[in-house]
């Protein structure tokens, strides 16, 4: 069964990659929505939405791949986690609905544009908070009996999940602010610099808080991080966080527009790698491993060529779309 073992690990990596690409690509979209209340001017808001108007839809598709891929490759995990996360997921979906249609609707009305701006911001806040809460709820573990979720419909709500929810809002906001540094100019960009400093401090606090709280959840997480010799592998993660943070601060101080966004992505990647270290090989922490949840080999094999051929292709034409709409977005221009 060594083939099956390898397949499950490979698929865990593929799903994790899809979710990470989602976080990278929709994170800054949602971050823009989170920052919307700080930019009350109509002109600024037009520019902000125009920086992502041509690409948000593709960005969101990675979330569908994450969900659909989980169902296909790890149906048992999909069947246990989604009912466990019922309320936050429904809230996320409704948030994404408002956020998504607001992109189109805010250009179609003058009288109620403000309402759709509120929908854009509110939808982004709710979706980001709900995603962070869902992450915390997975980390803290869910009550499983047999092949079913056996907890209540408020089990997800704990101080820890609130902490991860707020942390993700802060993180997405920082991605949004640094995206604005990359894509805008003038006063708008300068304001994004100021906001980025505050958000960076908040994000470091959030990373520290989540990193300290996670090992307290169960002894397994603590052993994973602090036992010898695992610490040889885990210690570089926090060290790298410090290194990236220093670089990010330097680029923010020297106003190199091109770099803060990508360094923030690096911070996200390190945090995400940390999550992977904590969870592996469990897909439902403390209950179900990736091998227990894996779909039959034939199902995982059937999708493999699709992923190996199509994902590079998708990344290719997605890159082309970004390339077509490259460069800074000015006040004088609009897609709509």
């Amino acid at each position: 069964m060594s083939v099956a073992v390898d397949l499950a690990t490979l698929w865990a990596f593929i799903i994790a990659l899809a979710v990470f690409i989602y976080v990278v690509m929709d994170g800054f979209d949602l971050g823009l929505g989170i920052l919307f209340p700080l930019f009350p001017g109509k002109q600024d808001r037009d520019v902000i939405t125009n920086t992502v108007a041509p690409v948000w839809d593709g960005n969101e598709t990675w979330l569908v791949l994450g969900g659909g891929g989980l169902m296909a490759a790890f149906p048992l995990a999909y069947a246990i986690l989604l009912p466990a996360l019922y309320a936050p997921l429904i809230a996320m979906l409704i948030g994404l609905i408002f956020r998504g249609v607001a992109f189109e609707f805010r250009w179609r009305t003058r009288s109620t544009r403000n309402l759709w701006d509120i929908a854009f911001a509110g939808g982004s806040w709710v979706a980001a908070l709900a995603q962070g809460i869902a992450l915390g709820a997975i980390l803290q573990g869910v009550h499983v009996e047999g092949r079913h979720y056996a907890g209540g419909w408020w089990d997800w709500l704990t101080p820890f999940s609130i902490l991860t929810g707020v942390s993700l809002v802060v993180g997405y906001a920082l991605l949004g602010a640094t995206w604005l540094i990359l894509k805008t100019e003038g006063d708008l960009r300068d304001k994004a610099y100021r906001i980025s400093w505050i958000l960076l401090v908040l994000m470091l606090l959030a990373i520290a808080a989540v990193s300290l709280a996670t090992p307290l959840l169960t002894i397994q997480y603590a052993q994973r991080w602090f036992s010898w010799p695992a610490i040889i592998l885990t210690a570089p993660v926090p060290l790298a966080v410090i290194g990236v943070t220093v670089l990010l601060m330097k680029n923010l101080a020297q106003k190199h527009d091109g770099w803060p966004f990508f360094l923030t992505l690096a911070l996200f990647f390190l945090s995400y790698a940390g999550l992977g270290i904590s969870m592996y090989p469990f897909i439902v922490p403390q209950s179900i491993t990736i091998w227990q949840a894996a779909a039959p080999e034939r199902s995982q094999l059937m999708m493999l060529p699709g992923v190996l051929v199509l994902v590079p292709l998708i990344l290719g034409y997605t890159a082309w779309a970004y390339w077509v709409f490259r460069g800074k977005v000015g006040h004088d221009a609009g897609y709509h």
Binding site: P54, D57, W153, R298, L315, A319, Y335
Partner: protein, 468 residues
């Protein structure tokens, strides 16, 4: 909540969200193809009217597509949130089909949508046409996979059941090309084309009523009426074939659609109308044509037809809904055929653009495609109850272990949110439709969207990061 148990609430939520969702793909599948044809005609003939009509519908497409995307994401998570037992058991078969839908269709549509909507001046007409074509092809590929998945649930094939009670594939080709899939795929794609042509025709007719000389509305109306005249009769033939396939694989669904509570040994009647009484198991006040049911379904006037009296009660679908939704769909189909034939007659007489009666008829039929699509899906989905996987997995055994208040609250939230979104979206689309396409009609991007700064170092970094 609402006096319903958790299973009924989960069913109500799925029915509500999927009904809302299907409206938008039904429109955008047809509209994407129509846009591709318009752009091709523009490139081929160089006539501005095609570009004007293209840009006109492109703005409407942008709104409809966004509503389809956000309501579609709900569907991809709802299998897990509300139908977790189903997901665990059926995921190994259905999951890969849906994963392929995402990989081959959703990304293609989403990846090229931005260029299609905003990129004409940035990439030039030829690459832009390629983007439009990719979006149109993407919508069709999406239909392929999701209808394959749905059809497998109706007519499962190529599977085995493993020790954990999961369905697993033994032959992927049999899974994908299961018995009802080809019929359902053709029927649905034609339905989407017909739905779109009725909308386009109604908008054209609306403006022709005010001014029969406008070039844009004339193009729309003429193209739409050709489509209706050609596709409506074709759709009736395909529907008939689909029905025969259903009779072979899901005979109980046909019994419900036809209102055949009792068996008929020598020729079953075709009931036109009646009032199905599920509790008593009889069709009240039935008006029917003797022997005609056997003639249509078996192509033989005296062929015996079994009725629901041969099926255990617990396996009956909800007959009144199935019976009536089927009649709504067929009735609208006949009206579409009438519109198509009427338009052909008036076109032959040279009165296509001036017959006000024809235009009023076309306007009245504008929403008919949506109603027929929904009625058709209601027929096929209630008709296969009480199963999620036909004959193998009961709906009541598929549901998540959730408390009724949780599902009731989410259902209520979806109803409120969808009505707000739907009302606003329809209002904005109707507002766009209220104006005819003008000379020099602007697309979603009226101005060059970005400062032509050329290649900046930052953009190069974006490229590198995304590509790696």
């Amino acid at each position: 909540m609402f006096g319903l148990d958790a299973v009924e609430l989960a069913r109500a939520q799925f029915a509500f969200t999927v009904t809302f969702h299907i409206i938008f793909p039904a429109f955008s599948i047809g509209l994407a193809s129509y846009l591709a044809v318009l752009e091709a005609l523009w490139l081929w003939t160089g006539r501005d009217v095609y570009l004007n009509v293209f840009n006109y519908w492109l703005k409407i497409f942008a709104i409809a597509f966004a509503m389809g995307v956000v309501s579609g994401i709900v569907m991809s998570y709802q299998f897990g949130t509300n139908w977790s037992v189903y997901s665990d058991k059926v995921g190994p078969v259905i999951g890969p089909l849906m994963a392929y839908e995402v990989l081959t269709a959703f990304f293609l549509e989403a990846g090229f949508l931005g260029v299609m909507l905003f990129g004409l001046k940035r990439v030039g007409p030829k690459l832009h046409f390629l983007a439009t074509l990719m979006v149109a092809v993407g919508t069709l590929i999406s239909a392929f996979w999701i209808l394959s998945a749905n059809s497998w649930m109706q007519t499962p094939a190529g599977y085995a059941v493993n020790a954990d009670g999961q369905f697993v594939s033994v032959d992927w080709l049999k899974v994908i090309f299961n018995p009802s899939f080809p019929y359902r795929l053709v029927h649905m794609v034609l339905a989407a084309y017909l739905t779109t042509s009725l909308v386009v025709g109604a908008v054209g007719a609306w403006h022709l009523l005010r001014n029969p000389h406008l070039p844009g509305p004339r193009v729309m109306f003429s193209m739409a009426m050709w489509m209706a005249a050609l596709v409506a009769p074709l759709q009736i033939l395909v529907g008939d074939q689909h029905g025969l396939n259903t009779l072979e694989h899901q005979p109980v669904k046909i019994m419900a659609m036809e209102g055949h509570f009792e068996s008929h040994k020598d020729g079953a009647p075709l009931y036109l109308f009646g009032w199905p009484d599920q509790a008593k198991g009889e069709l009240k006040w039935a008006i029917g044509i003797p022997k005609f049911g056997s003639l249509i379904l078996k192509h033989q006037i005296d062929a015996p037809m079994a009725g629901l009296d041969t099926v255990p009660r617990q396996d009956w679908p909800p007959v009144p809904i199935t019976f009536w939704s089927f009649r709504i769909m067929v009735g609208l189909g006949m009206l579409m055929l009438a519109l198509g034939l009427f338009s052909l007659w008036e076109r032959w007489r040279g009165r296509l653009y001036i017959n006000r009666g024809l235009h009023r008829f076309a306007i009245a039929m504008g929403p008919a495609g949506f109603v027929a699509v929904i009625a058709g899906w209601v027929t096929t989905e209630t008709g296969r109850q009480p199963f999620t996987v036909y004959g193998l997995l009961r709906t009541a055994d598929s549901v998540s272990p959730l408390a009724a208040p949780a599902v009731g609250a989410s259902l209520l939230a979806f109803i409120i949110v969808y009505f707000i979104i739907f009302a606003a979206g329809v209002l904005y689309i109707l507002r766009l439709m209220a104006e005819p396409p003008h000379a020099g009609e602007a697309g979603p991007s009226s101005e060059p969207p970005l400062r032509s700064a050329g290649v900046t170092p930052a953009a190069g970094v974006v490229q590198g990061a995304i590509g790696s």
